[in-house]
Amino acid sequence: MEQATTVAEGVRAGKALSLSKKENRLAWMLIGPILLYFALFQGFPIVFGLGIGFTNWVGVTSRPTFAGLRNFVRFFQDPIYLGTLWNAFYIGALVMFFNVTIGFAGAYLLNTPMKGKTLIRSIWYLPAVTAPVATTQIFLMFIDPSSGIANRALQLVGLEPIAWGYSTFWMVTWIVAYSSWRGIGGAMILWLAGLQSIDPAFYEAADIDGASGWQKLIYVTLPSLRNITTFVLITGFTGALQIFEPVLFISQAGPFGTTDVIVHRVFRDFYGDFNFGMAGAGALVITLIIFVFSLTTLRWYQVKEQ
């Protein structure tokens, strides 16, 4: 602890001094090639991809022309784009809610010495390492109206089969189910890492004060998890707003377009209509929303910290 303080002071003091030229050169020597590669192979396509949102560019063989904010005006006047944005929001919120809460519950239950802990933890996380292209096919097979076991199971308990594909409620349910199946493990691991980093001394102190289990959860555990909460919220939201593969592979935006999400719309604009302008605009809107959310969350984190 003391060590950290001196380092921090050193850094603060260092700001007043001029940068060491040697250190500067050394840093750039190490990181320069990496940044150069990044700028070329990863940065350039991003800038290119976002820039085309300001162009009128339809069709692969045509040349782009500058369009200013026209695409964005169209985006916010079009009920379908706004609908996809809303769909992404509420489907994403549901996925995030289940991932975060069930993930936390799992981590909380697993964060004590118990037999088979490693095995259970592994099974929870297992879906996260599977390939979406393969596992969405399994879910698709489940809800197949003829050979799917979802309806089979209903029939076994004496219920009428359900036309999953005709109901917005059920399609959203299945997309959320798949996304949570694959996402809960990741959230659980993050929470577990956070829980394990809490100093046991805090709990001992709470025990001495005679705190109950719930009190300890609310007054010791949760406040100590602020770091990890910020991380879980930001990565969770970023991922949830970009739900795409389950929609592409399982619902294909159905039924009747009610599960169309914004990234799927962008993808359709790109590869369906070759409308790079609108796709770029849509992508930029998602990017801005994610930025605003992340900055707000970070801000909340900083305010609480003080």
């Binding site: 109206p145 309806n151 619902s251 294909q252 590869y271 409308n275």
Partner: protein, 449 residues
């Protein structure tokens, strides 16, 4: 941990060789070999020799059932004939398999973007759009004249834009009605009776559903929110005098013909297992047929063989016609071959298309009996007239179209709108006219953009 690190490092080093090798592996010099984008029924990957070797290896593996073995043998014959026909025209070629549907379309878009790729592209619903957007090369006059003189109109009609031919399907499908004879028998119907009108058909469908008592249903057609749905619902819209666009090429969804067709489709949909008619994937519908749970389906010519492979006794006929309507059809499973404008070897590419129309190659389609040939000469052949695929060949002379490409810059969006509203009109209880009006409004809005 150490050993693991070492293994990973060694593997990464091996990958580096791949890096270098990929660079060194430049195309070999020699006679020009055109690259042909092919589909899975009558194509393959690599040079003809390689395709044949792959198929031969499958055959020698001994894991194939009788059907698969027959298909594989046929594929070898077909590729051999095609290679010979191309050789006679001095064309060397190799096949490229890019899959089908969405993923194929994406890769073709990428090829147009980069202005490089195979010298011949193949595809279904996206190809007329490519033609209209100017990505494809029109057939040279000599070939176009030959095609018009010798080929049934339905094979190239959907690829005609402003009097030029941009592509041709050399073994196209059209929709016909198939049924499971066993289920008709169980419902006390004559298993060979082909319904002539919509009313007659609906009546039979309802009888079968009643007899099935939840175990099996009358069926009808798949109508999911995708091209698999519109390709099969399209003929019914056109038969009733409706369609997708008006004579000016403008969006035209909210018309009386479509209302009539969708009302009829809705009645059919009530006679199907829950969720099967408009699922996102066609799979559920075909599984229902395979499991003996639906009697009628609408599909292309391959369905007979697919059904027989599973031991289903299948009957077939042309599609029933509505009272006051006339026969019409939409090509399905048609692999249109076209030459992209970026192609470096256009001359050879068109010669290859000529080879696809060579008699020796077309004869093999007759022999396989799964897809109709497209040369008009077969109409005069008495032996051919009795065959299964003659039904399809005959239909290709009639009122056959492909799905249209919409005006403006938002073709795919308008299709998304149509598909979603089509499924909604057919499987929900909403007011069909109101649903069609909504589709029309959105369609017009996007068409104007």
């Amino acid at each position: 941990m150490k050993r693991m690190l070492a293994i990973v490092a060694v593997l990464a080093a091996v990958a580096t060789f791949g890096f270098a090798a990929g660079e060194a592996d430049a195309p070999a010099e020699g006679p020009t070999r055109i690259r042909v984008n092919m589909e899975g029924y009558a194509g393959g990957e690599g040079t003809p020799e390689e395709i044949i070797a792959t198929q031969q290896a499958r055959l020698d593996g001994g894991e194939l059932n009788a059907n698969q073995a027959a298909e594989t043998e046929w594929r070898i014959d077909y590729i051999t004939a095609l290679a010979e026909a191309a050789d006679e025209r001095g064309v060397q070629w190799e096949g490229v398999d890019w899959g089908w549907a969405e993923q194929l379309t994406q890769r073709q878009l990428n090829a147009f973007l980069a202005e490089q790729g195979p010298d011949i592209l193949v595809g279904e619903v996206q190809m007329p759009g490519f033609a209209r957007q100017g990505y494809l090369e029109p057939f040279p006059p000599a070939l176009a004249a030959k095609v018009r003189a010798e080929v049934v109109p339905g094979a190239y009609g959907p690829m005609e834009v402003d009097g030029e031919i941009y592509g041709i399907a050399t073994f196209p499908g059209v929709n016909v009605l198939f049924w499971n004879k066993d289920l008709l028998r169980q419902a006390g119907l004559d298993p060979d009776r082909a319904p002539a009108t919509w009313d007659e058909w609906l009546d039979m469908v309802e009888q079968i559903t009643a007899a099935g008592n939840g175990e099996f249903y009358g069926g009808g057609t798949y109508a999911g929110p995708n091209f698999g749905g519109s390709l099969r619902v399209g003929p019914f819209m056109m038969m009733a005098g409706g369609g997708f666009i008006d004579e000016n090429g403008d969006v035209d969804f909210a018309n009386e013909g479509n209302f009539e067709a969708f009302s009829f489709m809705r009645e059919l949909a009530k006679n199907s297992p829950p969720g099967a008619v408009a699922g996102a994937s066609e799979g559920g519908w075909w599984d229902a047929l395979n499991q003996g749970r639906i009697a009628y389906v609408v599909d292309g010519p391959w369905r007979l063989a697919a059904g027989e492979a599973l031991g289903i006794d299948i009957g077939y006929s042309t599609l029933p016609i509505p009272t006051g309507g006339s026969a019409a059809n939409v090509t399905i499973g048609a692999a249109f071959y076209g030459v992209p404008t970026y192609a470096e070897n256009k001359e050879e590419a068109f010669l290859f298309i000529e080879a696809l129309l060579d008699e020796s190659v077309q004869d093999l389609h007759v022999q396989a009996g799964q897809r109709p040939p497209v040369l008009q000469m077969y109409s005069q052949d008495a032996d051919f007239a009795d065959s299964y695929i003659a039904t399809f060949h005959e239909t290709l002379y009639g009122d056959v179209s492909g799905l249209p490409t919409f005006k403006g810059e938002s073709n795919a969006r308008i299709w998304d709108v149509f598909h979603q509203h089509m499924a909604e009109a057919i499987v929900t209880d909403g007011d069909i006219r109101e649903i069609l009006a909504r589709a029309q409004e959105l369609g017009e809005q996007f068409q104007g953009q």
